[in-house]
């Protein structure tokens, strides 16, 4: 029967064009994370030019970072509505326009707007969709794909840092901003690679949604009947839908607030928000700390290079490890371990007093940092499923936005008050060990509850495994459907709709 066939969506390709998409995401994510850090080279010159203080210049970076993370929900809504490709291409265009107009700025306020808001917003429109589309193209090899794509950040940073220095030496800051604007347009190229997939066709969707609704009402029992009256059913249900939908449901269609009832999502949110409080501060203060202990400027900068190189290698490696048979079902534990490992590194850092000690610290820090970043989005996808990931990532980034911005300043205050860097490291280490332990315990609890729910579900249904859905490639992965409420989400994939239909039969 036609609807059932059309409704059964194929699983994600897990390869083929998917690897091209990973490359595009690599570029896009790389720019989103590395570009704000790379701009720091220009700040001293701009500070002299406009005659402002250091903190006024630092605001440019902060506004950019805040916009990139804070505009997450907007990005999610746009992706839900238009798909990844148009959003990334528009984002790339916005970044380019932002930097080009920044080249002609005559005041620091204009820089805040051009570099901070416009470019920051463009980068936000790059980051979210890139992560989302990986979830659409990969399932079995998703951790590897995520690890490879996230490796874009250190690679781009290592490329941008010398490039920015070269541009600055030859063209000054205005010329550099102009050229960087053009370079950011390459995000449009990355976006062009994001071929839409898995969205299916609109008529099929409305059919299936209509069928799903009827199935819940228990009216239709045969596929054949549905085929003959697709139009009637659809139009009838559509008017019902429009009337039945109130404002909340309409918002829910674009941004899935029901995620706040999702246990896994809440655990992830709390754990990550806590973690980001101590995540970035050590990187910001590593070079100043090294100089404080008497190491010269170039060796201090070299520490950051070591970090970046280890990071570059750690991310795809972690992806491969996370994809293995032993780790993947327990990926949440691996993630908690990585966070706690990170914290342990920071706690041990004050013991390293010589340059060799700091080199060892940088290597381990790079490893831990890469491990956490590689799995950052993979674990969220694992918890909420690819369908709701779009909204989930938006909500998570806006929550993280606050702690990310607070982290380094709090570290700075600790350093200024005590005059010693070690309290900042202790604070970061403690926060991360706490976050890691929290995630470990809560995920242990979550896994047990899910296993119990799965047992209950198996007991109720007679043939639960006959339908192979997009999200449920593995037997122990019914988290998505068990966690979904009975509310109708027009964005739920056809597979789910078909399943409900079969259950109603």
């Amino acid at each position: 029967p036609a609807p059932a066939e059309a409704g059964r969506a194929p699983g994600p390709p897990d390869g083929g064009w998917g690897w091209v998409v990973v490359f595009g995401a690599f570029v896009s994510i790389g720019f989103a994370y590395a570009f704000p850090k790379g701009l720091a080279i220009f700040f001293k010159e701009i500070q002299d030019f406009f005659g402002t203080s250091y903190s006024e210049i630092a605001w440019v970076s902060s506004i950019m970072l805040a916009t990139t993370y804070g505009a997450g929900p907007i990005s999610s809504i746009l992706v839900n509505r238009y798909g990844s490709r148009p959003v990334v291409m528009f984002g790339g265009l916005l970044c380019g326009v932002g930097m080009i107009s920044a080249a002609f700025c005559t005041s620091i306020l204009q820089l805040y707007i051009c570099v901070g808001f416009i470019t920051g917003f463009g980068l936000a429109l790059n980051l979210q969709p890139s992560v989302i589309i990986i979830g659409k193209y990969f399932l079995k090899r998703r951790p590897i794909a995520n690890g490879l794509a996230m490796a874009g950040s250190p690679v781009m940073l290592c490329t941008l840092a010398p490039l920015n220095q070269f541009l600055f030496d030859n063209f000054g800051w205005r010329g550099s901003f102009l050229i960087l604007g053009a370079i950011l347009l390459n995000c449009c190229v990355a976006g062009a690679l994001f071929r839409p997939i898995g969205a299916g066709t609109a008529p099929v969707k409305t059919q299936v949604t209509g069928e799903g609704k009827d199935a819940l009402k228990g009216e239709i029992t045969e596929d054949g009947k549905e085929v003959s009256n697709p139009l009637n059913v659809t139009t009838e249900n559509k008017t019902e839908e429009e009337e039945g939908k109130d404002c909340f449901e309409k918002v829910n269609q674009y941004l899935d607030f029901s995620l706040f009832k999702h246990r896994g999502f809440l655990i992830y949110l709390v754990g990550n928000v806590l973690m980001f409080l101590g995540f970035f501060a050590p990187i910001v203060f590593l070079a100043p700390y090294a100089k404080h202990t008497g190491i010269d400027e170039y060796s201090a900068a070299f520490l950051l290079s070591i970090l970046a190189i280890v990071d570059m290698v750690a991310r795809p490696t972690t992806g491969i490890v996370a994809n293995s048979r032993w780790v993947r079902p327990r990926i949440q534990y691996f993630f908690s371990f990585a966070i706690a490992f990170n914290g342990a590194c920071h706690l041990l850092c004050p013991l390293a007093s010589s340059y060799t000690g700091l080199v060892v610290y940088s290597s381990f820090f790079g490893l831990a940092f890469g491990m956490v970043c590689a799995m950052l989005f993979e674990t969220l996808m694992d918890l909420v499923g690819a369908a709701r990931f779009t909204s989930a990532v938006g909500l998570v980034t806006i929550a993280e936005c606050c702690t990310i911005l607070l982290g380094p300043p709090i570290g700075g205050i600790l350093i200024d008050t005590f005059g010693d860097y070690k309290y900042m490291f202790i604070k970061c280490g403690a926060v991360m060990v706490l976050a890691g332990t929290f995630l470990f315990i809560m995920n242990y609890y979550n896994y047990r509850v899910l296993a119990k729910e799965e047992k209950e579900r198996k007991a109720k249904e007679e043939d639960p495994k006959s339908v192979r859905t997009e999200n449920e490639g593995r037997k122990d992965w019914n988290k998505d459907s068990t966690q979904d409420g009975p509310e109708l989400e027009p964005l739920r994939e056809q597979a789910e709709g078909v399943k409900k239909e079969m259950n109603g039969t």
Binding site: D48, F168, D169, F171, G175, A182, L185, V189, A192
Partner: protein, 226 residues
Amino acid sequence: EKNISLANPTKVELTCKLDENSNLKNPQVTWKSESETISHTSKSQNSWSIQLTISTSSQLGSYSCILKGEEEISATFHLQVPKIEGKEKPIITYEGDIAVMVCKTEYAAMAWTWYKSNGTKLVHIDVSPQTDKFQIKRQSASVNRLEILKLTKEDDGVYWCESAFALGSSKGRFELKVLSIMAPLKPFLAVVAEVVILVTTIFLYELYSKKKEKGGEREFDQIEQL
């Protein structure tokens, strides 16, 4: 070796301390300036010092303590006027834009003067209300700012900032390069062209592969009908 910056006349005490673990026992100590030996020295357990009153620039220079025993060790102090941080790399600016040169020292300077190099001569830079070309701003006692407005190619060159202290003066060097707008425009257009070409290629490739798929599907449908 140690560098000490002195801006104003002051009294200085220089001390040479011998490490307890050193092999040298009861050495003979002499203090020397560049030209002569100093006699008024004072001694305490394992440390020797001199007191100097620096009031003119001629008293600046290197002072060293020499310890003679089985070996000979010495330490030197360089007393000098505060140095100015200039910029080693050239400052890149554009025609019609503003150039800013910031001159910084550690201590408050009495006066600041700016010069432009013209061949071997130094031309003093005047701030006159008529020309409206130069602006000199005093951000603080130790920071001075030269702004050059409405840049042209002729403004290209080497600039000097001189700060005057009671004990002398020191200079900082700045190099200014004025480029035309065309300079960054070429790489800019090159990158934009690359982006446009890549995006077009990707879309064309996608259309091409979709056409191939559709052609294949049509064949499949026909076979089914048969």
